[in-house]
Symmetry: C2
Subunit: 525 residues, 2 copies
């Protein structure tokens, strides 16, 4: 059954109170997301080495002696070599990359990871660290025959400090399990992603995952208090401070946050969890232009202040795609722009009062043309599901190019409009739609182009144009998804030659044999 | 004139409303702090090389040719060699360290910094980067004859993004000037320190400065969006992204945050400024025990939630010291423990309602015995001045050992009680008092011992006992002040051998000649 949204325009016509605000409830975001259903089927995924121009590094090939050594380190059941079992570990969830690893290892302890890496380093075997395998730029799957080392069995909560909210756990703890654990103790995870049911905190940390809570609570460089990582040669670096403040020497943990497993293998983390809010409200707004969106965003920052917890943007075309391809009912009639405004606070009455004042002000100024407030948890879930299902809906157009860039706010939506102009020469049979949605509060737009099928000429028109355009605005070519395998040769658009040289210097000194997640992050040349 | 505080106990006796809450106002924290007055006079500061066991590295000595080269890079007035002028740059504000540099350079541009460092690196001249010279562990002054390179003339605001709150500026911008600039535009600096009138944002970033706002807004690893640094060999690394999200390659800027100028010279920064709150309230509470303090802290987190912006602790002895040595009137009669609870929000009425509910609940449960709310900006300033004057008051006992450690909350005040027991054998002529105050919300206590005069036997009893005890609790031996010169041989208490090896590796590869801020951060052996 579809949620029965109450649009304020409808309510106004009926003479009813426009902002029928609901009782407070806890954030009921769906734990089962469309994202975790089977992705749209496509042809068998092409091997990465066939699809992309990439040359295997001069690593050793796996031998039976290596397998025997792995079986000495782990028990037999945790050394997987069966091709059918390996398939899902070789292929990324988005079915865009596929490697040919012959072995998957499932360590349970840091010591086991250390022994595995020491052996691989001595033998010059390349290694692909893997968490929940939900990344989108090919960071988490092998490119060739790298040994896959999965954190899936390292999933214990080790400690929780109820005073500070510091959670200590192993890297393989699934984000949703982490969130549930701390939620029962009055806290929330500092990150929330569509992939929370599958992704693991170690992978989140290794990729500096963004998501819906970053706007309020900042990124993992600020909220990770400590971690433990195993270096390429097997040395364990214990940086497991649970202190919010610890200025003792270089903050080495930062090297492992966002370096996508290329500098070390994260085995444990300590994350600072924010206190859970008693009250959460969610409004879905319709607006006539992006200029108005920016005004409403500034108004929300000013009038909602400390309770503003999400500020998302969705354009008309993205909504239409979700409606047409997934039969998800939009809460409002068609508006050129839509916003999702979430508040989280400790007093529901106060929050509702602030939200009402804000919304009335915005409607009086005719910046918000219509809107609806989720009046129960089902509606709230439906609104978030709509937002989070858009990538899936886009894929169902046939083929989709999905991008993740940061831009200054005033250029946020200009990226989509520029792309529409740029692709205007293509026929409807080549380009279905150009649309955008994303984390407005963070300046992070997901810009997308869909088509009935893959078309190299369309791709050639999009890339590198989009990235060059983004760089010219002072934006970032990868806001939250990282560089991984797919964007490594675009890195120069967001980083200077001096910065890339320094990255290479760090890689060379920390992983001299280059065994950790090769072909990722750093440019191929 | 002393502020006329209204204690709730007095008001209750008078039959008046206990929580006489004031009108809203903007944070009026004092811009002129006691900290910026002349420090208590002591004998001439001993040379660092005479006071501490330290050996000069094999660096070159400054020659007339070097001075000529510096004068070619800078104009003559920005190459300072007069001994009397150099004196304050050679000596730290706390008068505990003194170097013998023969030259101070005042570059205005990154290019000038680059040329200076290139020359120093080629000539193997050691360099001491200097900001506002307010650090407490000897990070910002030369140990021997290092060339002092000051950022004081690099103090321009370069850009401000009114949508995102991202401020781009040069490293020498004084924190208070930065705060004033963004405050006029509806934002606040993400850091606030007692030294704000002198310290510079480049120094704040280089030392990962903590302070009063960290509790709410997190540390600089999270709030610095970008920076520019000059490496030891003069190479400029431009990491000046102003994007809140930028996952493109290794997050190199993190290397320069908190590494105290030993890995690079920070020349520009981009900081994410939080929106300014319309309403700020401040309560001063009296409690009978630290157990009750912890209960009130948990209650504040839960009942004040998103508006809680500071949670500070001050013990009875610290209050007595400020009263006796600086004639600062405490807001309440003597209580064993005191708390400062600050709220910052967007709606004064809502905040006052939350605060009243919280305080009533805490007094009903007899966790808070008495308290007073600042009823005007003068009282608020007075309360913060009391809190921030304690270090100065302690120095006036004669000699003071001031420490800065992080601890799990349940061990926070046990540190002081342990130290009292540990020093109980000393006479009143040797130890005047042992006391503690600090950032309870961050688990960061400033533990202090004072005496009529320096006594090596007392110091020997305090150190390394305190640091070893702190490490045993899983704490940090330096919460917010860094390692600098004074704590470098204590680093092993908070960091493992593997971590220290990795730090040394980074230092060796980024600054092979070791010219950048030598004798700091890394252990002497």
């Amino acid at each position: 059954m579809l949620p029965a949204y109450r649009s304020w325009r409808q309510l106004t016509r009926l003479g009813q109170c426009r902002f029928a605000l609901s009782k407070c409830w806890h954030p009921p975001r769906a734990s089962t997301r469309l994202l975790h259903q089977t992705p749209p089927m496509r042809a068998d995924v092409q091997l990465t080495r066939e699809h992309y121009p990439v040359t295997r590094g001069s690593y050793s090939e796996l031998t039976d002696d290596d397998l025997q050594q792995f079986r000495r380190i782990l028990d037999d059941g945790r050394v997987v070599t069966a091709a059918d079992e390996l398939d899902i570990y070789n292929t990324d969830w988005w079915r865009t990359c596929r490697g040919e690893s012959r072995v998957l290892l499932k360590p349970r302890t840091t010591e086991e990871v250390s022994r595995i890496l020491r052996h691989c380093n001595d033998r010059r075997l390349a290694v692909c660290p893997q968490g929940g395998n939900t990344a989108v730029v090919g960071n988490g799957v092998p490119v060739f025959d790298e040994v896959i080392v999965s954190t899936q069995l390292m999933n214990r909560v080790l400690h929780f400090d109820e005073f500070s909210g510091a959670l200590t756990c192993e890297a393989g703890l699934v984000l949703e399990a982490l969130d549930t654990y701390v939620s029962e103790r009055g806290y929330i995870a500092p990150v929330d992603l569509g992939a929370k049911g599958s992704c693991q905190i170690g992978g989140n940390v290794s990729t500096n995952a963004g998501g819906l809570r970053l706007f309020r609570y900042g990124n993992l460089h600020g909220t990770v208090l400590g971690l433990e990582a195993v270096l390429a040669d097997g040395e364990v670096v214990d940086l497991m401070s649970a202190m919010k403040k610890d200025n003792t020497g270089y903050d080495l943990k930062q090297l492992f946050i966002g370096s996508e497993g290329t500098l070390g293998f994260v085995t444990k983390v300590v994350v600072q969890c924010p206190a859970k809010s008693n009250a959460v409200s969610l409004a879905f707004l319709g607006l006539k232009s992006f200029e108005d969106v920016l005004q409403v965003y500034r108004g929300a920052k000013s009038m909602l202040g400390e309770i503003l917890s999400s500020c998302e943007f969705i354009d008309q075309e993205s909504i239409a795609c979700a409606r047409d391809n997934l039969q998800l009912a939009p809460p409002l009639d068609d508006y050129p722009c839509n916003m999702l405004i979430e508040t989280s606070g400790s007093d529901d009455d106060h929050d509702k009062e602030k939200l009402t004042r804000f919304l009335e002000h915005m409607m009086e100024k005719e910046l918000v043309l219509d809107g609806t407030l989720a009046s129960n948890s089902r509606e709230m879930t439906a609104m978030w599901t709509l937002r989070e299902s858009i990538p899936d809906a886009l894929l169902r157009d046939g083929y989709a190019w999905l991008y993740d860039v940061s831009l200054p706010h005033h250029m946020f939506y200009e990226s989509v409009e520029d792309m529409r102009r740029h692709l205007s020469g293509f026929s409807a049979d080549q380009v279905t739609r150009v649309c955008g949605f994303g984390h407005l509060g963070d300046g992070n737009i997901h810009l997308n182009v869909t088509a009935p099928r893959f078309d190299a000429s369309v791709e050639g028109a999009i890339e590198p144009h989009l990235f060059e355009w983004t760089a010219a605005q002072g934006g970032s070519i990868s806001a939250e998804h990282g560089i991984g395998f797919k964007k490594r040769d675009l890195l120069h658009l967001s980083k200077t030659p001096a910065a890339i040289r320094l990255m290479k210097t760090l890689k060379a000194v920390m992983d001299p044999n280059g065994i950790l997640n090769p072909y990722k992050v750093l440019p191929s040349k």
